[in-house]
């Protein structure tokens, strides 16, 4: 939460008529939290876990997992850079939009790959084995990631206008 609380009005957050600053800050947090589901340090790579899970991997699935791990580990570094810059007040204010876009798209891809590696077992909807259908329920849940908190398309609009300064409405 922002540090400055209005002194006269206990319920007021930030300055009068500057509510959008606060709102954007909070939205930024929501976006980071959602995209944070796609980050999470070195554990964000999934290839090794999928091999343990599946016993063996089709070569093309393994290749897709490797490319995914490259993207996931690189995104984890981006997450670290993003936080470092935010703490130092260096980052672009619209950067959370970029993080949200990439993080949520990455998370959807992660769960698609996990479903593929899991095979028919990950289709089970309420078995004890799958903790009540966790793989499939989690997979479906990720589809909302790029919708809630601003769709991927809205994120791309913001990046193109605020960061790249491209023309138009």
């Amino acid at each position: 939460m922002p540090k400055s609380y209005g002194e006269d009005c206990p319920g007021q957050v930030g300055e009068v008529n500057r509510g959008w600053d606060v709102a954007k800050y909070l939205l930024g947090h929501e976006r980071e939290m959602i995209s944070g589901a796609g980050g999470g340090g070195l554990t964000s790579a999934i290839g090794a876990a999928m091999l343990r899970h599946a016993g063996e991997l089709d070569p093309t699935l393994r290749a897709d997992l490797a490319m995914f791990d490259v993207d996931a580990l690189a995104y984890a570094a981006m997450g670290e850079k993003f936080l470092d810059e935010m703490k130092a007040g260096k980052g672009h204010p619209a950067q959370p939009n970029m993080m949200k876009y990439v993080g949520t798209e990455l998370n959807k891809r992660r769960h698609e790959l996990m479903m593929s590696a899991g095979g028919s077992r990950s289709l089970e909807w309420d078995s004890e084995d799958t903790g009540g259908g966790k793989p499939s329920r989690n997979w479906l849940r990720t589809k909302a990631n790029s919708i809630e908190g601003g769709t991927s398309e809205v994120m791309l609009n913001v990046v193109s206008k605020r960061i790249l300064d491209l023309p138009g409405a």
Partner: protein, 379 residues
């Protein structure tokens, strides 16, 4: 360590950016030498200027007359080289060969480092055998001969091979072709008898050689490090070169992207600036995201490498692969969004595509490094 440049690094970045955009500019260097069919593919006067700037010995220890900096700092210079497509022997000499020479004898350092630091010498590194980067397999042989060795075999994609005053050559001194052990690095002087170069111009106008060693006699003191102990040094050389190439790739990506975004703000079509079209805006924003991430992981991997982290091998490969993908996207989107003029030689965007392709291949492409990420991760 935060993932942005500290004050000294930011100053170096400013200095390198200004120098490269003026002295290393595309018209002044790349096009100039290319249009003259330059046999070296770069200008020696510029290399002297690199020395005056303190760039040539950037990672050489201070005790040896260098700047004593790390791969992050070399990467800062390389990003500007990439941005301006500046042809120079910096990556091969000041990063790859200089990393190898860190492990050399005092005699080897004394023989080669002063020339490098002064910008008088150019070094090449001969690793690849065949058209793809497969340093796990080394068949070039160095057999004991008198007090020294006799070198036999062929190396490919030796950048600046014919211009080099010295070549760092990875050869097999024992075991069979696919063994990890039994590798030795040699510093081979340019006038070595029975060494021949078949020089070829590459798509980016840089020069490489297929270099043949037909019984090249070497003194024992040409050995860098220990006999049969070259693999560990080679891995360090490769890591430094790969993160260097990744940093240069970030510059290529950034340069191509900025040029393209500028164009979207100028070019009118159907009565509108083309940058107003959402079809292009979303692609530009996606590209921006990929390039930002590529930059972040390149700094991260550089820091891990400089800190001797156990994760450096993995993250260097992540960075090399990620940059290859991001820069590849930047140049492809760049040419497409420039439209027809993107295909012409008058516009620089095509030059970025050419350089990117050569840089992707150098020391392993995205496929090689994604495979390595899988292996290092245990699958």
């Amino acid at each position: 360590m935060p993932l942005y440049h500290d004050e000294d690094q930011a100053m170096l970045a400013d200095t390198a950016a200004q120098f490269m955009s003026e002295e290393g500019a595309i018209a002044k260097q790349l096009r100039h030498w290319r249009d003259r069919d330059c046999k070296d593919g770069f200008g020696h006067a510029l290399w002297k200027q690199f020395a005056e700037m303190g760039f040539t010995g950037i990672i050489v220890d201070e005790d040896d007359g260098g700047m004593g900096m790390g791969n992050v700092e070399a990467g800062i210079v390389l990003e500007q080289i990439g941005r301006n497509l500046t042809p120079s022997p910096f990556l091969t000499s000041s990063v790859l060969a200089a990393t190898a020479l860190k492990h050399g004898s005092a005699d080897l350092k004394g023989r080669y480092l002063p020339g490098l630091i002064e910008g008088d010498s150019v070094f090449a590194v001969a690793i690849d055998e065949g058209a793809k980067h497969r340093p796990e397999r080394i068949a070039t042989k160095a057999e004991k001969s008198g007090n020294g060795f006799k070198l036999t075999g062929q190396k490919d994609f030796v950048i600046h091979g014919a211009s080099a005053d010295m070549l760092v050559v990875a050869a097999r001194t024992s075991g069979s072709d696919n063994d990890a052990d039994g590798i030795t690095l040699f510093a081979v002087p340019k006038d070595a008898a029975n060494m021949s170069h078949d020089a070829v111009r590459l798509v980016d106008s840089s020069m490489a050689t297929h270099t043949k060693f037909d019984g090249v006699e070497l003194d024992g003191d040409a050995v860098i490090g220990e006999v049969d102990g070259g693999r560990e040094i080679l891995n360090k050389v490769l890591n430094a070169g790969r993160i260097g190439a990744a940093a240069e790739g970030c510059g290529v990506a950034g340069g191509a992207m900025d040029m393209t975004i500028d164009y979207l703000k100028q070019r009118k079509q159907f009565g509108k600036l083309i940058g107003e079209f959402q079809a292009l805006q979303h692609r530009a924003a996606h590209l921006y995201s990929e390039v930002e991430i590529a930059r972040a992981v390149t700094i991260k991997a550089g820091q891990l490498l400089d800190g001797d982290s156990e994760q450096a091998d993995l993250m260097v490969s992540v960075a090399k692969a990620k940059v290859a993908k991001a820069a590849g996207l930047a140049v492809k989107e760049g040419v497409q969004m420039h439209g027809g003029i993107g295909m012409t030689d008058e516009y620089d965007i095509g030059l970025y595509m050419k350089r990117d392709r050569a840089l992707q291949e150098f020391l392993g492409d995205a496929y090689y490094h994604a495979e390595r990420v899988a292996q290092l991760s245990g699958y």
